[in-house]
């Protein structure tokens, strides 16, 4: 375990060096890259997907994966915006418009609850049946996105411009949106959860050796289900922020985010085999992917090439993961 942690820091340093190198290159050669506005842009683009990736990291360290995160962001976002409409909320709870705070709370809490519920469902099915989490959550991806489309009737849902709700996505401190700071806090919280709690240690143990963890008396099922709940919850958080920022959501929102999130996590040094990785690494991974895509946009490279680039990035990252693993053995 202790040995694993050292390896992890090495991986983090490697990605930090790559990130710094790329940053330097882009600053020198990509026009209008090194401007305050663009740098804030990179942070903005990283923050919301980064929250999803941070949650996914916990699931992946435990040796599973969740592909339903993008769909959950869509469904939760729709839910959030619907509940910013006071008349919509009234259909569910009685109250007057003075109880604005209650409605606002619903608009924030229900999406989080939905995210957690999707995670709970995924976790219980995966641990209960022992099935492959890739295929189970692929099914959840389809089902939840279908549910989001069904719930919104395939339309784009707009918010009611509740100033408090909008502030979540639009308030700024020194031209940096507050959700960027929230992203950093979220990452640190999850990192602390993994590093300093019994739960966190159990997650690493389970990812390293599931059978040994069962024998060691770790409540394996409970921990694994919890990692899924954390992941779903993170998707719910991202959904609320995205909805507040765009003031719109639809059944096709966050399409393909599952791939972006997995890429960020893997580049951040979390092993696909589980047992190794960190949320801080994922933070760096997210920044790296966003930086590359940002540079491609600034260089006017047509958007479909981003798919190709992402595929190559993830294969490279996994290649490094496999190599280091071989050396370790």
């Amino acid at each position: 375990m202790a040995f694993d942690r050292f390896q992890k820091t090495l991986a983090e340093q490697a990605i930090l060096i790559i990130l710094a190198g790329l940053f330097l290159l882009c600053s020198l050669f990509v026009p209008s890259f090194f401007t305050a506005r663009n740098l804030v842009n990179i942070l903005k683009q990283s923050a919301i997907i980064g929250i999803v990736a941070a949650g996914l990291t916990v699931t992946m360290i435990a040796g599973n994966v969740d592909l339903s995160v993008g769909s959950t962001v869509a469904f939760s976002g729709i839910l959030a915006l619907l509940f910013t409409h006071t008349d919509f909320s009234k259909a569910f709870i009685s109250g007057t418009s003075e109880q604005n705070a209650v409605f606002l709370a619903l608009a924030i809490l229900l999406p989080l609850l939905l995210g957690g519920a999707v995670g709970l469902f995924n976790g219980m099915v995966v641990t209960g049946s022992g099935a492959n989490s890739v295929i189970i959550t692929l099914g959840a991806l389809a089902a939840v996105r279908g549910g989001a489309l069904l719930f919104s009737d395939g339309k784009v849902i707009y918010g009611a411009h509740n100033p408090l709700f909008d502030a979540i996505g639009q308030a700024q401190i020194a031209t940096i949106p507050i959700y960027v700071f929230f992203f950093l806090v979220f990452v640190l919280l999850l990192e602390a959860l993994l590093r300093f709690t019994t739960f966190g240690r159990s997650v690493y143990h389970i990812g390293t050796n599931l059978k040994a963890s069962v024998i060691a008396g770790i409540p394996v099922s409970r921990v694994r289900v919890t990692t899924f709940v954390i992941c779903g919850f993170a998707a719910g958080v991202a959904a609320v922020i995205l909805a507040a920022r765009l003031n719109s959501a639809s059944g096709t929102t966050a399409n393909g985010w599952e791939f972006d999130a997995v890429t960020a996590v893997v580049i951040g040094g979390t092993s696909l085999f589980g047992g190794k990785g960190s949320v801080l690494g994922t933070l760096l991974g997210t920044l790296l992917v966003t930086l590359i895509i940002n540079a491609m946009v600034l260089l006017n490279i047509p958007s479909p090439w981003q798919y190709v680039a992402k595929a190559l990035i993830i294969v490279t990252a996994v290649l490094i993961d496999v190599r280091t693993r071989k050396e370790a053995i």
Binding site: S129, A140, G146, V308
Partner: protein, 315 residues
């Protein structure tokens, strides 16, 4: 090696019974279900998914799977249109070869580079989808050949449509190969216990690479069959193919755990799923709800499969 029918999710006879039941009920309440047009629609879909399902069955029996099949299929469709200038036959052959190459690459990455099938095929899915979007410039592109159209809309003796005929040849041939060849036998052994298979001197890597390549080739052929009907390609085609094929093959009783299944069972599963999808359309279930049902069905099938596999292990 083959743990027998006991582990089959539904059992071949049960699937046939369910199919029979659904057909009767639908034929009574919605006669349009048994109109020649609708029957062709079902068979066309089942032909495409069934052919890809053959490859998927090979992979799953050997303990792998492929998420990139939908992208790979559209990749072939796109390539065939772009390569039209070379003449219709060379263009088609080249397109199928390119799809096979993508499959081969999946196999090499999984076996030699040891990246697991999930990340390999997920990346390939995104990569090929990206290539399609680049080549089509995010639009729908059309072919100009009418010869292929004659194939897509023609039929043997005015009875069996050619697209269905292709599948009617591919499925039994590869069903036979899987059941009787050394390659097939090796795949069952690898899926049951990869390490043991290796110790017995089975070349695990080449058997797996061959399965991935076959899957790629069948995606290519399916892409051409698709082209023969639609005469167009777009980055939005084939989005649900992977989900449908994996669900269908699992529904037929081929296990994700490996070591078990057959082409016939894969076909039955894909057929059942095709009929169910068609039934939902005919019963005017909204596409969104169809997606929910399909997703939940995949989850159920995989969960039950895994649960049974675990119980079998304890026995």
């Amino acid at each position: 090696m083959r743990r027998g029918l006991a582990r089959t999710l539904l059992g071949d006879q049960k699937i046939l019974l369910i199919l029979f039941g659904i057909t009767i009920v639908l034929a009574v309440i919605r006669p349009v279900f048994i109109s020649p047009e609708n029957i062709f629609n079902v068979l066309f879909q089942v032909s495409i998914n069934g052919m890809i399902g053959v490859g998927m069955a090979y992979l799953m029996i050997g303990g792998d799977f492929d998420l990139s099949v939908g992208s790979n299929m559209v990749f072939a469709t796109t390539a065939a249109i772009l390569l039209e200038g070379l003449g219709i036959a060379p263009g088609i052959v080249l397109a199928v070869l390119l799809s096979s190459l993508a499959g081969f690459l999946n196999g090499v990455l999984v076996t030699k580079v040891k990246i697991n099938s999930f990340i390999t095929t997920l990346s390939m899915m995104i990569f090929l989808r990206g290539l399609v979007l680049i080549f089509t410039d995010k639009k729908t592109i059309s072919g100009s050949t009418s010869a292929l159209f004659a194939f897509g809309y023609g039929s043997l003796f005015g009875l069996i449509p050619y697209p269905v005929l292709v599948a009617a040849v591919v499925l039994p041939v590869f069903g036979f190969v899987l059941a009787k060849s050394v390659w097939g036998r090796n795949l069952y052994a690898i899926g049951s216990n990869s390490k043991a298979a290796q110790m017995f001197g089975i070349n695990v890597d080449s058997a797996k690479i061959a399965s991935f390549t076959l899957t790629g080739a069948l995606c290519g052929i399916s892409g051409i069959v698709l082209l023969s009907r639609l005469n167009s390609a777009s980055g939005t085609y084939g989005m649900d193919t992977g989900l449908d094929v994996i669900s269908g093959v699992l529904l037929g009783g081929t296990s994700l755990a490996g070591g078990e299944g057959s082409v016939f069972r894969a076909f039955l599963g894909v057929l059942l799923l095709g009929v169910l999808s068609n039934a939902m359309i005919i019963l005017h279930v909204t596409p969104y709800l169809q997606q929910v049902v399909k997703g939940l069905m995949l989850i159920t099938v995989v969960a039950v499969d895994a649960y049974q596999a675990r119980r079998a292990e304890y026995r």
